[in-house]
């Protein structure tokens, strides 16, 4: 059996701990699959958790010292943060010609192109299966398994916290704030949840998928981002009635105008593959010209699924399986030509809170007609003269810019008493 692959793990939080446990528990199995031992040689963490199998393995409190003073083949960076110390040690390790494995989607989304260049010019590997969709091997699928295809689109449920909140809202009929508070109490959402619920985490992951799918330089700045704060129990109930589920999606799509990258709540058919993915599960759908539609589903977060992905990358490195970081060599990645959001075409769900007075609906209909927005369905239950009632509309494929103009005009109608709620519909 060949020499051991020497592994340094920086960060001993949830995922770092899971990775250390996996390496210890499956040492024999991993050595068999890699043809050589995978040996943990050092770690870095501010505190060394007592319950990890770290006997005889040093823990540095400063990850920079780990890089400088340890002999290792691969740095596993699991500290997190888009820049700072994580970026510093990843850069230092790659510059030394070492390999870096990370689950740090923020760092990849912000600095992935540069890290790929550094890795590929210095002979190291920069790998991040764990950064998107946890244990589901979707990076490998896009980069290798589906590599014979020209992909048309890739989309998915990429954030388990949001999917858990939306699923619980639907099942319990409760509203966003209440379910979020419960998710925080249960540890499914962070104390500061904005990263998840405002769609930033999904955007990081989507930017990575876009680069892999289309051979473009990662471009987080051109992701249109909306979160789930404004999704109400009422909208979820209407969605159900219309045959849809509301999911926070990341969608990357090739269009005639360029590549769309968008993160927003979306109504998808209940019967679609993605509409049925509930709770903390993630799913990624990739559509290629030869393969058609493929769906990958599984646990998108948590110590163990994420560790599974981290160690899959280590096995690739141990066996010498190499693929360019984003599927093609860094210097051949194209700049992304972004399709502006105003040019997006799609169907929409609109919920208005309206004072039930004569003539309102005519005003709403006129605003839509003037922007050439064509209505598909209207839901309005009973009448309540003089009171506020919800009016729900769905409209056929229309131009985002026209939709926004119509919504602007509708929101200025006196009898429309709240900000109109608009949710895009995708008939996947």
């Amino acid at each position: 059996m060949s020499e051991a692959l020497k592994i340094a793990v920086a960060g001993l939080g949830t995922v770092g701990g899971g990775t250390v446990r996996l390496l210890a528990e499956h040492a024999g199995l991993l050595a068999e699959r890699a043809g050589r031992p995978l040996r943990l040689v050092a770690t870095a963490a501010l505190e060394r958790p007592a319950d990890l199998p770290l006997d005889g393995i040093p823990t540095f409190t400063d990850a920079r010292r780990l890089i400088a003073e340890t002999e290792f083949d691969v740095l596993v960076e699991l500290m997190g943060g888009s820049g700072g110390i994580a970026l510093e040690v990843a850069t230092a390790a790659l510059a030394k010609g070492r390999h870096v494995v990370t689950a740090n989607k923020a760092m990849i989304a912000h600095h992935g192109a540069r890290l790929a260049e550094l890795a590929e010019t210095s002979g190291g590997v920069f790998a991040f299966e764990a950064a998107v969709a946890g244990g589901i091997p979707v990076i490998k699928a896009l980069r290798e398994g589906l590599a014979a295809n020209r992909l048309q689109q890739v989309y998915g449920i990429l954030n388990g916290t949001c999917n858990y909140i939306l699923t619980t809202m639907r099942e319990s009929g409760r509203d966003f704030a209440e379910v979020l508070a419960e998710a925080q109490a249960l540890g499914y959402a962070e104390a500061d949840p904005s990263f998840d619920i405002d769609g930033v985490d999904t955007a990081h992951k989507l930017a990575i998928l876009t680069s892999l799918a289309f051979g473009t330089v990662i471009d987080l700045d051109r992701v249109h981002i909306e979160g789930i704060r404004h999704v109400s129990a009422l909208d979820i109930q209407y969605a159900e009635e219309l045959g849809y589920r509301i999911k926070l999606l990341g969608v990357a799509r090739r269009t005639a105008a360029g590549v769309e990258q968008r993160v927003h709540p979306c109504m998808v058919p209940i019967r679609s593959s993605i509409g049925r993915v509930d709770g903390v599960f993630n799913a990624v759908v990739a559509e290629g010209d030869y393969v058609g539609r493929t769906v990958f589903e599984g646990r998108g977060a948590g110590a163990n699924p994420t560790a599974s992905a981290v160690v899959a990358d280590l096995l690739d490195i141990a066996t010498g399986r190499r693929t360019p970081t984003f599927g093609i060599p860094w210097h051949r990645l194209q700049a992304l030509e972004p399709a502006p959001m105003e040019g997006h075409r799609g169907a929409y769900y609109i919920r208005l809170m309206v004072l039930d007075v004569p003539g309102v609906f005519a005003d709403i209909a006129a605003a839509l007609r003037d922007e050439e927005v064509s209505m598909e369905a209207v839901l309005q239950r009973g009448r309540a003269p003089g009171e506020t009632v919800p009016v729900v509309l769905t409209v056929h494929d229309t131009l985002e810019a026209a939709m926004m103009r119509a919504i602007g005009r509708i929101s200025r109608i006196d009898a429309v008493v709240e900000t109109p709620r608009l949710i895009r519909i995708e008939d996947f």
Copy 2:
């Protein structure tokens, strides 16, 4: 750019044609991803289809001459058949130290262990992503993406013809024979459909998945096989009523008694990932100790999805990505310890056609009680004294041997007028 990978394709039928087209259509994209051109240098087929992009590329009528007279790096074997000429040329190519890519599950199921040994000792690659679940990169997922896990089970819908027939039976309420005839007319089923509908094709694929999942020598002889000929419209209707769908599944599971390998119609919950996979789609579920449950879904057959998988293997070979054929080196694969089917524990659906005479149900219940089979639900609609009526039972987890004894006894009750129908239930 490095030297071209020289590819010889033996077999220009559906999948061969698709592969040739893909190589031509995506030549630029593939060269970019592989870092070198993928060049078709020769083909073999009894007839050379006029519509394929084969200008300047010779076609041998005898694939053996292709091997003997052509300089190539990879043989793509797409002729089919478990032995014969396919096996002969695959063996010859590997013996020369060349690589072999194939979609031929029958050949792998029967001779995979020997071909792996030959490949690994002569320095070639023997790859078969296209052999299971068409375009879904499930071989790669098991061998690489999930390789950090000890897998507990892998199961799936592996035959699109059967899934199409069962889906159409459900949607149309028609019976098996009629839907099969229609599927044959539409080209979804072969003139001789037994290979598909009797579960043999699924068994071939399952035997491959088992080897990959558990590191065991492929062992087709120990697959318990039942097909879908006996699934009736009535059973499909009852399944729906009980909250299940009937699917032909291949299941490989680690149990205390050894590894179960079984192919049979199965009731799975309508809401499960696999219960919702309809029509010609395939799905594979893998459960690992770290990753949890992962689901892979997509098109399991057809020229283009299968070509996508064939060319994915070619890209791995072109870039030098190597994995042992069945995940670990051939000489470390363990003999499979089969769990006998009699020792299987599970839930069951039983449909009896019974003369509605007094006392029958007591006899049935006694047979079950004496074998310690515990009933969960009974469906019997109305009464029809003196006539034949269906009686449907579901039973809790029970031992297969006890179930079979009980069924044997029930079938001997005078008032039970047809062979009892038994379908296993899996609460995935």
